[in-house]
């Protein structure tokens, strides 16, 4: 290292902070560094993902969580093809994502002025996903209460739940102070993310989403199967964490 003028802080872990996995103080806290003379390599400098741990809700309130579990189970119902959104951990996935950097729109350009644009200019709101969820779930709760005799979403019949979701998706159910069509898209997109993302993030439990479609996950070497045309890939999926049956049992 040949930096002539300044002290170099080798805080590489903070430099390589991951928006997906780590809570970081932001780019401004890291210090620049001068590298020369060799490929810099120090052990432990990579930033592997941090597995989501089971435990209490980190973002959702108990009522929100109950509603979200019911919603993800309608978006992805349990049936003979496999578990639904709730048992696949989609609500846990959403909870941890919304409590983390994604929920805060960390790293995105969030400077004003905020103006409505064309569809091609993308989301221009000032609210990050966590705020959108909080407002959206509250608006759905109000809507259900007003239209179903004071009930909450999880107490509706599956047919009633589907009707509520369909009406929000189509914009026929008007939510107070929330664009329901836009919120439904966010809800659906992030729920499906949770169903198909690596189980390390709390969803896709037991690789249910991957088993549904036949995706082999983080397996990385298919040299022996590239040219085996029209033959189903035979091995079960693998997560970044490996497979449960790889774990040595005491």
């Amino acid at each position: 290292m040949t930096d002539r003028l300044r002290e170099v802080q080798l805080s590489r872990r903070s430099l390589l902070a991951s928006t997906a996995a780590l809570l970081v103080a932001g780019a401004t806290s890291a210090r620049a560094r001068t590298l020369s003379g060799a490929m810099p390599w120090e052990k432990g400098t990579a930033s592997p993902p941090v597995p989501v741990r089971p435990g209490p809700w980190q973002f959702f309130t108990a009522d929100e969580a109950a509603a979200v579990e019911a919603i993800v189970d309608r978006l992805i119902p349990a049936d003979d093809l496999g578990p639904g959104g709730k048992d696949a951990g989609c609500a846990v996935y959403l909870d941890r994502q919304l409590a983390g950097p994604y929920g805060r729109s960390e790293g995105l350009y969030m400077r004003p002025p905020f103006m409505n644009g064309t569809p091609g200019q993308g989301y221009q709101g000032a609210d990050a996903p966590a705020t959108r969820y909080r407002k959206g779930l509250a608006a759905i709760a109000d809507y259900v209460k007003a239209n179903f005799g004071g009930k909450v979403f999880r107490d509706l019949s599956p047919a009633e739940q589907d009707k509520v979701l369909t009406d929000i998706e189509k914009g026929t159910a008007k939510l107070k102070d929330v664009n329901g069509v836009s919120f439904f898209s966010l809800l659906l997109q992030t729920t499906q993310e949770g169903f198909f993302a690596d189980p390390i993030y709390g969803g896709n439990r037991d690789m249910a989403g991957w088993k549904l479609v036949g995706f082999p996950g983080a397996r990385y070497d298919f040299r022996d199967w590239v040219e085996r045309y029209n033959e189903k890939y035979p091995l079960p999926p693998v997560s970044i964490m490996g497979r449960a049956d790889w774990t040595v049992k005491d």
Binding site: A32, L75, S105, R111, G122, L188, F215, W225
Partner: protein
């Protein structure tokens, strides 16, 4: 006040493909070279190891490797009459970040442009007459020819170990390769990749229609390879995680794998990471650069004096840096005068998706640059006399890995959620795929880059503003290519076929391609170009913009990286053999 650092011979802005090639070539000459890179140091095997590199959520969806818009973004609009608004989250295209730049997260598709792409305006005028070119289209000839660039394409391909099959060796057409390509002085350094089932089916169908399918030239390497700098690459394992991902297997060509191990050993080279160049400094004549000013991540400002400034950032940021530094006159679309920001162009892509009967495609077995292609409808490879457009593109099996958060085809009319959605997703996933077209984007008077009047970056500097939309010529071209693609795929007797030609308006929220070109275009006349044929600024002769796609006068129907690499070597030779002997304007 910026703290002044000791003088260097050369300061390089950005350490991606062009920055690392130029740094190596000039440091090897004995010059004292420093590269300033705004992102972090990145390696491949330690940062993206097989094991957790294959993480679709982190890299493919949350875009962990990419530039954070908080640090730099731009505003976009389709028309000059609209208000441009900031891209708050990158989606339509994805600029890289850190050492390696976009060369770390790319797919590896490494093409050469056609000989006629380099004298485009002359070629079209001679073959069809000047009236064939729409009035508002501002295409122009490159100031270099294919023949001049051929040795440099060759050098870049050997550096990167590109897999492929030559179609034209020194003018002799070769079976199995692309018969339309320009002449090549040598075969690809490594043989073609293996093809997965979808690609094989496309190739078979195309062949039956009389076309000449060939394997796509690839920066995903088919076998172990040691390049001329002595660094070794490994065989691709077809894991299906290339674009948006780093390759920890040393199988995907990148500055990390192909250049940095040799460059970092040179004692007269250093890279300053986490440091963003804010401007190129000029002396009081305005004709000579004195170096650059940069700000590090603690907010401290530094001045790096240097005799030579090489602007090697991603195309869009090359343009912004020149605008912010006052080098060259900014383009004014009303008067047509000025040059910086002029001739911004993009790429016109489209696709045809099919669902096949009783097929098991295993499309998760893929590489970023695998696939079989046809080139009959690229550039001017086909007669446009009776067609109402110019330009074209390649067509081919472009599946790069069926990662399931983003790739879940279902039949038309399937609900977006619920039991029916779940059933359709399960049934269709492994028997559906997409054939892509990758077409040219020509430049227009009203497609350009300038500084935004409203939005600022974190340092208070104006964001760059992009004004872009697809024009009729490109939309007709895309319809034509998409129809040809559909004809081929119909022969596979699909259960369902959906053709999606590119239509306007351009939308910044749907990923299309990261191939942004133009804005600092190269030319023979300072009236319509920012740099001369050696990528040297007309206004400030010790500033070069070596080979970023920002120097393309318009975009061809190919991915840009091969041409970017060739121009980097071309510029390096001009600096080594001409500029250093006699510093000053080369033209």
């Amino acid at each position: 006040m910026a703290r002044k650092l000791p003088r260097k011979d050369v300061v390089v802005v950005g350490l991606g493909w062009t920055g690392s090639i130029l740094s190596y070539e000039l440091a090897k000459q004995g010059l004292d070279v420093v590269a300033i890179e705004r992102g972090p140091w990145r390696d491949t095997a330690s940062d993206f190891p097989p094991g957790y590199g294959q993480d679709e959520l982190r890299y493919g969806v949350r875009l962990d490797m990419f530039l954070r818009p908080e640090q730099e973004t731009l505003t976009v609009r389709n028309k000059m009459s609209e208000t441009a608004l900031p891209v708050r989250k990158f989606a339509g295209f994805l600029p890289g970040n850190g050492v390696g730049g976009a060369g770390l997260h790319w797919n590896g598709q490494t093409w050469r442009f056609l000989p006629s792409d380099f004298n485009l305006r002359t070629h079209i005028t001679e073959r069809y007459g000047a009236s064939k070119i729409p009035e508002d289209m501002t295409i122009q000839d490159w100031p270099v020819t294919y023949d001049e660039l051929e040795p440099y394409y060759d050098r870049f391909e050997k550096l990167a170990g590109i897999s492929g099959k030559a179609g034209n060796l020194n003018g002799k057409i070769q079976p199995g390769g692309n018969p339309f390509e320009g002449w090549r002085s040598s075969e690809y350094p490594t043989p073609p990749l293996k093809q997965n089932y979808g690609s094989a089916l496309f190739a078979e169908a195309a062949k039956k229609m009389g076309y000449a399918p060939f394997p796509r030239p690839s920066g995903n390497i088919s076998e172990g390879y040691t390049n001329p700098l002595g660094v070794t690459m490994g065989q691709c394992t077809y894991c299906g995680f290339c674009e948006r991902f780093g390759c920890g297997n040393y199988s995907k060509s990148s500055p990390q794998v192909c250049v940095l191990p040799a460059l970092m050993r040179l004692p007269n080279f250093a890279v300053q990471t986490e440091s963003e160049v804010t401007r190129i400094n000029l002396d009081n004549t305005g004709k000579k650069a004195t170096g650059v000013t940069y700000v590090d991540t603690s907010g401290e400002e530094w001045e790096q004096p240097a005799d030579l400034v090489l602007v090697c950032a991603f195309s869009l940021f090359n343009v912004r840096l020149l605008l912010l530094s006052g080098i060259g006159a900014p383009y004014d679309p009303q008067s047509g005068k000025g040059v910086v920001g002029r001739n911004y162009a993009y790429q016109t892509t489209s696709g045809v998706s099919v669902i096949l009967k009783d097929k098991v495609l295993n499309n998760f077995i893929a590489t970023g640059s695998g696939g079989m292609m046809i080139d009959e409808f690229n550039g001017d490879n086909f007669d446009h006399k009776d067609l109402d457009f110019i330009g074209g593109g390649y067509i081919g099996s472009g599946q790069t890995g069926a990662r399931p958060i983003t790739t879940r085809p279902v039949p038309k009319g399937t609900p977006r959620w619920g039991s029916q959605w779940k059933k359709a997703t399960a049934e269709t996933y492994n028997r559906a795929y997409n054939i892509g077209t990758h077409g040219s984007s020509y430049s227009y008077r009203d497609c350009y880059l300038d500084l935004d009047p409203t939005y600022k970056d974190r340092l208070g500097r104006p964001l760059m503003r992009m004004t872009f939309d697809f024009h009729d010529n490109e939309i007709k071209m895309s319809q034509f290519l998409t129809d040809k693609t559909a004809e081929i795929m119909k022969t596979l007797d699909p259960v369902e076929l959906t053709a999606s030609p590119r239509k306007g308006p351009w939308n910044s929220t749907i990923y299309q391609t990261t191939h942004n070109t133009g804005g600092t275009v190269m030319g023979n006349d300072p009236k319509d170009s920012v740099v001369n044929r050696y990528c040297q600024s007309w206004d400030v002769s010790n500033v070069f913009v070596p080979g970023g796609a920002s120097v393309f006068p318009q975009n061809a129907g190919y991915n840009p990286t091969g041409t970017v690499g060739a121009l980097a070597y071309w510029t390096a030779d001009a600096i080594k053999n001409r500029y250093l002997k006699n510093p000053g304007p080369l033209v």
